[in-house]
Symmetry: C2
């Protein structure tokens, strides 16, 4: 029996906690607001942005979707961010990634008021994560992974964790969260230059795959009974599908599931957690302002 960690279920729990918090804030006259800025008309980004805004609306939060043309200039985007920084209705600002090539994404992120940076990418929030300052915002994907590990009933304290991937979006923040006081895991960050990667991964009680390479983590990378968190969402050509592709993670699900203790599926694992953690961060931002 494969024991999957149900990301939809855990995300629904987080959303339910958010609803309770929102009711409490509403009673105090506080209505958290999220602004999502989309530059251009990338279909995948449109879907992501719409679902974020819709979820806010469902929960009775204020939300705005601001769509700029794909020819928008850096100055135009910065002006929008600046306006949102000073807008009291807005507690969280997210600029959907990736922007068109003429936009300097790092400069946009630095322009967001750190206290409204619910994506957790502003340097001030990166530093707070490293410094274990709880007033910062943690990037939604690693925060969601932490919640999944907790929901799976797996003890991180003293566990050996291997994070495969060292990006600033997932790998590094994940490692920093897991090694922090309170989580107390023994964390190894592995990557493309790691020798004997399979052997290193086999040490892991908890294995986090965030490499963006379809199904590269096979059974030989996984210790019997380990907990496997698959952050990858990859499209793989598949002529048997109507769309011509299927979605898969960084983990070869079937063979790993037969060996590990628990595993997140793709889709339905880490993915659903992202919006839930975004909502949670936006509520936190509103609370810190109040």
């Amino acid at each position: 029996m494969v024991k999957t960690i149900d990301g939809k279920k855990v995300a629904a729990e987080v959303i339910s906690e958010c609803a309770t918090e929102l009711a409490e804030l509403q009673a105090r006259g506080i209505k958290p607001g999220l602004a999502v800025v989309l530059i251009g008309d990338d279909p995948a980004s449109q879907v992501y942005v719409s679902s974020k805004v819709r979820k806010c609306a469902e929960l009775g939060m204020h939300s705005e979707k601001i769509v700029l043309s794909k020819e928008a200039t850096q100055e135009e985007v910065l002006k929008v961010v600046e306006r949102l920084n000073h807008d009291d209705l807005i507690h969280g600002i997210l600029v959907q990634s990736p922007p068109p090539p003429q936009i300097d994404e790092d400069a946009i992120i630095r322009a967001i008021d750190p206290s409204k940076d619910v994506d957790g990418f502003h340097p001030e929030n990166v530093a707070k994560l490293a410094l274990e300052d709880p007033t910062g915002f943690v990037a939604c994907t690693p925060a969601g992974c932490m919640r999944l590990i907790e929901a799976a009933g797996v003890e991180a304290n003293g566990a050996e964790v291997v994070v495969v991937g060292r990006s600033m979006i997932v790998g590094k923040p994940m490692a920093l969260l897991l090694m922090a006081r309170g989580a107390d895991a023994t964390v190894t960050v592995a990557h493309s230059r790691t020798k004997n990667l399979a052997e290193v991964c086999r040490r892991a009680d908890i294995l986090v795959a965030a490499v963006g390479r379809p199904e590269m983590i096979t059974a030989e990378f996984v210790k019997d009974g380990a907990t496997v968190i698959d952050v990858g969402i990859n499209r793989v050509e598949d002529s048997s599908k109507a769309k011509g592709y299927r979605l898969c993670g960084d983990v070869a699900f079937d063979e790993v599931a037969a060996k590990c203790g628990q595993i997140t599926p793709v889709p339905g694992g880490v993915g659903p957690m992202t919006i839930a953690m975004l909502i949670k961060n936006t509520i936190k931002a509103a609370r810190l302002k109040s």
Copy 2:
């Protein structure tokens, strides 16, 4: 034959590079300046501060030692920092740690202009380290350790490194430096909650000890031929010494030296690197301003 990594020699090499850089900057009319702020009269801090200022003077840099009484208030220290932030003669500012108990050290660090934060403790520089932005300042002790590893001729790329200790002063920045692109080590951060610590440490091709516990890293923690970097400087009672104590590292030197490939002694290993990297950071600060 013990192969020690001679911190004094490597520090002298760094200082010699600094002298060359200083001559070049001088030819362009630039004189890097360091201000060291000492609050109170702690004898060890006085020694550290004086040696920093003296080294600057020897190299023909501008340097200032600013001594405040141990009763100085937070506001007084902030005013001094603010003045130094706006002083064009000063490119680097360091407030000697630890300050007296009435001082909020984090707030002081945050008040230092990040472009003058040659200690590398300001959140903006912590973030730049995590984000692999080379315009930041790296804390002097981990930067010195990196230089010692390089000087030892040990290849970090693909090596297994275990960092024991997760402080923001040494352990975490050390781990971030070693896992960054270019260094490319496979890094594990171990700490007091790590199970089977000796076993985890024995995996290391390069072992960095930064726990602050005298001689806790014994031979059983070390793989044959490993490179050992000992960051600890501990005082241990020793009635056979005139001072009543001796200095030792976190590593049990004699038994580990008999087993490992190379090792930094205490004193004379990591210690001498700190001032050298501080001078290097101050020159970098002046260069970035010019």
